[in-house]
Symmetry: C2
Subunit: 252 residues, 2 copies
């Protein structure tokens, strides 16, 4: 009988990110752990898969109950590789992160961290993406341990409905956390502000930039609770259907 669950830990910030080291460390307390991280930072890769080049995973560490891989693909590629090739069996849980930067509200749609979590949900594997509202490499993760462990233990015990993943976000560590709030994705967006430059050959090019705009004043959203000092947990789904419109739209 299997006594310890098999937990896959992944991210989109590469192997040297403090966020994935923190997450792997917590997971070692809860089960056998396999870590697979991206070779390069892959922020903004969303649910992208790699079709034009082959994947070259490398095993870096192998110990009792712990293995560590690195691979050249996207976070979603990494989950796919583990699910059916690198691991002998499906993991009991996939956790992704801890991302350096918020994946609350519309950020989820661009997120490689959440891409990996959602990929697990497609196969019916319970999954959680963890993110911190602090983009810096030196981000302070010292306030998250108890919450990561509490949420993970609960999911290991109870599972999640099929096709569901959790999008967990932490406020920056500038005041004590107030608790956990299960809530909705805020209706926010990025307003693009491309930086226009001219290269030495006279050709115009643009760097993507922008500012975050949250016009959602509802008091039950992830952005609302993060601003109040709570950990936000949004249950998210792989079904994109706007079910409320299926019966009202017509093209006849």
């Amino acid at each position: 009988m299997k006594t310890r669950p098999l937990i896959l830990v992944t991210n989109d910030d590469a192997a040297d990110a403090p966020g994935i080291k923190k997450l792997a460390g917590i997971m070692k307390k809860l089960g056998d752990v396999v870590v697979i991280s991206t070779e390069q930072p892959m922020s903004g890769m969303a649910h992208a898969v790699t079709v034009n080049v082959p994947l070259k995973p490398r095993l870096l560490v192998e110990e009792e109950g712990y293995r560590e891989y690195i691979s050249n693909g996207t976070p979603v590629d990494n989950v796919k590789l583990c699910k059916h090739t690198l691991l002998d069996s499906l993991p009991d849980l996939v956790v992704s992160g801890i991302n350096h930067g918020s994946n609350a509200s519309i950020n989820i749609i661009y997120s490689g961290t959440m891409g990996a979590a959602l990929e697990a949900a497609i196969d019916g594997i319970p999954s959680i993406g963890f993110s911190l509202s602090d983009y810096s490499v030196g981000a302070d993760f010292s306030h998250v341990d108890d919450y990561v462990e509490k949420i993970t233990r609960k999911v290991l015990e109870d599972g999640l409905p099929e096709g569901i993943s959790l999008n967990v976000n932490f406020p920056k560590n500038d005041k004590p956390l107030k608790g956990i709030k299960v809530c909705r994705q805020a209706k926010a967006r990025w307003v693009e502000d491309f930086e226009k430059r001219v290269d030495p050959f006279g050709r115009t090019y643009y760097w993507l930039g922008g500012h975050f705009a949250n016009g959602d004043t509802r008091e039950d959203t992830d952005e609302y609770f993060l601003a109040k000092g709570y950990v936000s947990v949004v249950p998210v789904q792989i079904d994109f259907t706007a079910h409320h419109l299926v019966d009202t739209l017509s093209f006849d």
Copy 2:
């Protein structure tokens, strides 16, 4: 007073794909058209954005009521560039495709075509992704014209609710189309089957592969109606929240 709507046409199969030429041709009947396509095929890029290299859009064609750009970024980058940089005003409609390959059911989550359409929806621009269940470069698009025009005219006239896009899929052209069905995303998935190879230096690498598995037997899904010979239209949303779980999950 503006008499003709401004329609942005984009894709993930690059500028020479017959699908985008077909779509641009139909849109010219309905409004002023700006086309922006990817330099390279970008299938599987989902909602990815480019943060590590700058974007270099190039204007290829400029005529009365028609412009054509190509750019090195992802489909989502291309929509972002047009929304706030290359165009003087937001487009009235964004159409994406016609993709060479199905984006029905779970394919939407990997799709660059639908990434572009959803990016428009984030800014409240009505958008439609069109895809054909035929991956070949020489895919036959001769059966889609009337349906593309009908669906597009309807969206131009009525708009779409905020944050909503349409995921339109056509069966392969092997029998007459039966009509349009508004429906739900089927619960299907890809079962990975990586092809393992060894390079000349003895290192193992993998090519992503797999087969499509639809275990969804409901008779109101996109896969169901496509198999029956209908055009499927799934209204899709940028809100990932599983609202039915927000009040039932608890971590206290």
